[in-house]
């Protein structure tokens, strides 16, 4: 089984976000594998362990992203690919990213491609379905269960709390929802082994892509922080009176009842 997992390097969820000169400040920030992509990597490893084959993790970014790829290798992925855009591209959008990934994957005969259903930074959730469409393969998003039998797959998809049971066939792209599995922590031997696993670095030229082909279709013109929420009133007095006051405030002042 030829398995791929798409991985994004993101800010740690603990990080506060600051903006300076219209950009997110990333000095000193901790970076992690996008949490939804961890589910994708874990599922990829489990599929390989059950059905055999190889797991390749792919990311797009600069050399810094190597760290997240090594973490994925330490979890148990077999190979990693970094599509390094640092020298070639100033701006990217989802159109750009999907095209780069699909260009890399188009002749790889992937059986299963896994990705997170959304990245916790950009939050658009576009890249998975876009890649599937470019490759002309089936896809199912926000999955919480995946069983593969030969070339058929049985999937449970989370649809805003409801769940759908879906049957489809390989080759297939799925995006992971929370609850799909419990991603493992890299073990110490895993971390040692990861250092020797192959990590291939590619640039646009290697993919035979011209910058103009991946020119973004959308542009971010401003980044800003939401107005700081001020702490409101903590009510006082007898609990029953507090509740009365609260319901009265919600009704009369906030007008939300």
């Amino acid at each position: 089984m030829n398995i791929y997992a798409l991985v994004k390097r993101t800010f740690d969820t603990e990080e506060k976000i600051a903006v300076s000169n219209g950009k997110i400040v990333d000095d000193g920030a901790e970076f992690i594998i996008n949490p939804y992509d961890e589910y994708a990597i874990e599922e990829a490893i489990q599929i390989r362990d059950e059905h055999g084959g190889e797991v390749t993790v792919i990311t797009i970014g600069d050399e810094e992203a190597e760290k997240q790829l090594r973490t994925a290798l330490a979890m148990g992925a077999d190979k990693a690919v970094l599509i390094n855009t640092e020298d070639d591209l100033d701006e990217m959008d989802e159109f750009t990213v999907a095209k780069l990934v699909a260009e890399y994957l188009k002749d790889k005969n992937a059986d299963v491609i896994l990705a997170g259903n959304v990245a916790i930074d950009g939050g658009s959730g576009q890249v998975g379905p876009r890649v599937a469409e470019l490759l002309g393969i089936n896809y199912v998003t926000t999955i919480t269960d995946l069983k593969i039998d030969g070339t058929s797959a049985k999937i449970i998809r989370d649809v805003e709390g409801d769940s759908e049971t879906i049957e489809t066939s390989l080759p297939l792209l799925v995006t992971a929802q929370q609850g799909l599995n419990e991603p493992r922590y890299p073990s110490l031997p895993g971390i040692m082994k990861a250092k020797k696993k192959p990590l291939e670095e590619l640039e646009l030229d290697d993919l035979d892509i011209d910058e103009d082909d991946v020119e973004p279709k959308t542009e971010t013109v401003e980044i800003f922080l939401p107005p700081a929420k001020e702490a409101g009133r903590v009510l006082e007095g007898d609990l029953a009176d507090q509740v009365k006051e609260l319901v009265n405030l919600l009704n009369k002042e906030a007008k939300v009842l």
């Binding site: 800010f11 969820t13 603990e14 506060k16 976000i17 959008d93 989802e94 159109f95 939050g123 959730g125 576009q126 998975g128 379905p129 876009r130 890649v131 599937a132 469409e133 470019l134 089936n138 896809y139 998003t141 926000t142 919480t144 989370d158 649809v159 805003e160 709390g161 409801d162 769940s163 759908e164 049971t165 489809t168 929802q177 929370q178 609850g179 973004p216 279709k217 959308t218 542009e219 971010t220 013109v221 980044i223 800003f224 922080l225 939401p226 929420k229 702490a231 409101g232 903590v234 009510l235 609990l239 029953a240 507090q242 509740v243 609260l246 319901v247 919600l250 906030a254 939300v256 009842l257």
Partner: protein, 324 residues
């Protein structure tokens, strides 16, 4: 330049979802006086078309087919593309719902277009429109513009106000016949888990529980309060990790981002990841035993106390207000 805008409406259990009306309003904003065309796809959707017009669509196109009973990206994709080819719109709007999120990137990819996802506000109008969307789960926002080609965006439920319903509005309702074939994914079964049919991302009121709820049973008073207010129940990661509830209820940086009119946090301490998912709610109430809990920093109103005492009292008080 005035634009022709195509809006994909969405029905759930036989009724149009609010986000469809919000999408019509968004379409009007970007149309610059152009035409807003509603699109309804399903097994039987003809009867819903009029309401879309009453909320501001100039006309509606429907695609009906037995294979469109359940959403699949293939089926809905084929239906959408047939209408797209016929209408040749300048802009397309979907709701940023489970199915909207699933379908929009496929269509954008097929059309080679950009896609601005999860828009919460539109600044300016017509060609000058800028689209505001949350990043880092609402810890920050960005303003995005479309650089070239088709303008395509999805809107987050509950953020853009719909136009007022006008029952006297009329418009043409036409149907396009599409042979839906070659469905590569087949829906075998749908299990409804949502409480009382109110979807978390669209709910006007969310009552969320954290570790302080202590057990699955502990969610019962929260459910009662949510039902009373016509809202939905949510949870913090702590409550989900402890198996008190399903992960589909999780609100936060992983999980759902919600912006209801009223958010009631019960027994939630307020980790930064949880706050990212709810701090843009319009009014926040915090109930927690710990007066130092972070959640009080974003709450409009706070009660320091045991949720198992406070929530039942709230239910009684609200019932009194509702009967008056």
């Amino acid at each position: 330049m005035s634009k022709k805008v195509l809006v994909l409406g969405e029905a759930r259990e036989g009724a149009l979802r609010n986000v469809s009306f919000e999408a019509i309003a968004a379409a009007k904003t970007v149309s610059g006086g152009g035409e807003v065309v509603g699109l309804l796809v399903g097994e039987s959707v003809q009867s819903l078309a009029e309401e879309l017009i009453q909320y501001g669509a100039d006309r509606v196109v429907t695609v009906e087919h037995p294979h469109l009973k359940h959403y699949t990206s293939d089926g809905y994709g084929q239906a959408f593309m047939a209408v797209y080819e016929q209408e040749k719109p300048d802009a397309v709007v979907f709701g940023h719902t489970a199915n909207g999120k699933d379908l929009a990137p496929k269509i954008a990819s097929k059309l080679g277009s950009g896609l601005i996802s999860d828009v919460t506000a539109i600044e300016g109008e017509g060609d000058e429109s800028l689209f505001v969307r949350p990043i880092y789960s609402g810890k920050a926002f960005e303003k995005v513009k479309n650089k070239e080609g088709l303008l395509f965006f999805t809107i987050r439920p509950n953020n853009i106000a719909p136009l007022e319903k006008d029952a006297s509005r009329t418009g043409e309702i036409s149907s396009v016949s599409v042979d839906i074939t070659n469905l590569r994914t087949i829906i075998k079964e749908v299990v409804r888990k949502s409480t009382e049919g109110v979807d978390l991302s669209e709910a006007k009121v969310v009552v969320a529980g954290g570790r302080g709820v202590k057990s699955a049973d502990g969610f019962k008073p929260l459910e009662e309060l949510a039902n009373l207010l016509g809202g939905a129940v949510g949870a913090s990661r702590g409550a989900c990790d402890a198996d008190y509830c399903d992960y589909s209820l999780q609100i936060g940086q992983t999980g759902k981002v919600v912006t209801p009119d009223l958010y009631i946090a019960a027994g939630i301490s307020g980790a930064i990841q949880h706050m990212a998912g709810m701090s843009n709610s319009k009014v926040i109430v915090a109930i927690n035993k710990d007066p130092e809990a972070n959640i009080f920093k974003v709450a409009d109103y706070g009660i320091v106390g045991d949720l198992f005492e406070v929530v039942p009292m709230m239910i009684e008080e609200i019932k009194k207000v509702q009967t008056n």
